[in-house]
């Protein structure tokens, strides 16, 4: 058994992760939307208001958790759909690797925005 096979999760474990990330995302996204609704919608999108949100460390952590949870849930969802369409070892490995890379790219790009807007990177 090679290294990758040892690290591979069973499909049942991946589905548990899929469900848990989905449920957790529901809660954190609800908080994210509520933050838009506690003030008039147009005011909530003003630059100063949004930057103030990002400077709040708890809100920055909330945004990071949304980013990670939805990326895992979303790209795993795409992986499941693609594996339903076609089955072969090469296809399954290609789809898994591509979705993991896309997930890492999106999380990295979003994290960069959160760090810079929070002021940690300035």
């Amino acid at each position: 058994m090679n290294g990758i096979s040892k690290l591979a999760l069973k499909e049942s474990q991946i589905m548990k992760i899929h469900y848990i990330t989905g449920i957790l995302a529901l809660f954190v996204v609800a908080v994210h939307i509520l933050m838009r609704l506690v003030v008039p919608y147009s005011s909530s999108l003003e630059y100063a208001h949004v930057i103030a949100n990002y400077h709040n460390i708890f809100y920055a952590i909330l945004l990071e958790s949304i980013l990670v949870l939805i990326s895992i849930h979303g790209f795993n969802g795409v992986r499941v759909i693609l594996l339903e369409l076609r089955q072969s070892k090469i296809w399954e490995n290609s789809v898994t690797i591509t979705t993991i890379i896309a997930m890492i790219v999106l999380v990295s790009y979003g994290t960069r925005t959160i760090i810079l807007a929070n002021g940690l990177g300035l």
Binding site: Y19, Y41, L45, Y47, S71, G74, G77, V78, T113
Partner: protein, 150 residues
């Protein structure tokens, strides 16, 4: 290799026409496709949302330029669709989690004519209807907030 006497069963294939015909879809099939379509739509929106919010690091001008492009009637209409898709995906997703662990499936029964699937019972149908009703309510609320002014 075709066996002797075997008929060409391609006549039974409807191909894409059968796949796209929604008239024979049961509610489970409709919810199956909607769950996938809304999921893909939401992921595309999420990638776009991460990209659009990155304009924050470009300063006030970059942020205001992005808002000018997105905070339009069409932009708000798109957001109402996002609200609908996320509500359906969440509500139907919870139903699917319950179903996957065996809740709401009912007891297995003997397959008698007219062969209604015992898994598609009142509880399952109610779950799909609740998801659709919640979607409509969330979209109306979103339309009120986004298009109704402050």
């Amino acid at each position: 290799m075709k066996m002797l006497g075997q008929k060409n069963n391609r006549d039974n294939r409807e191909g894409l026409k059968g796949w796209l015909n929604p008239l024979r879809y049961g509610w489970e099939r409709v919810s199956y496709w909607l769950q996938r379509l809304t999921g893909i739509f939401l992921l595309v929106y999420f990638v776009g949302h991460v990209f659009e919010t990155s304009s924050l690091v470009g300063g006030r001008n970059a942020w205001d330029t992005m808002l000018e492009m997105t905070q339009t009637t069409w932009g708000h209409t798109f957001l109402i669709m996002v609200i609908g898709a996320s509500t359906f995906h969440s509500a139907n997703g919870i139903r699917l989690i319950f179903t996957h662990v065996g809740i709401g499936l009912g007891k297995p029964g003997r397959p008698d004519y007219p062969y209604y699937p015992s898994s598609l019972n009142t509880r399952q149908r109610s779950g799909i209807w609740i998801a659709l009703i919640l979607t409509a309510v969330a979209m109306l609320y979103g339309a009120n907030v986004l298009l109704g002014g402050d």
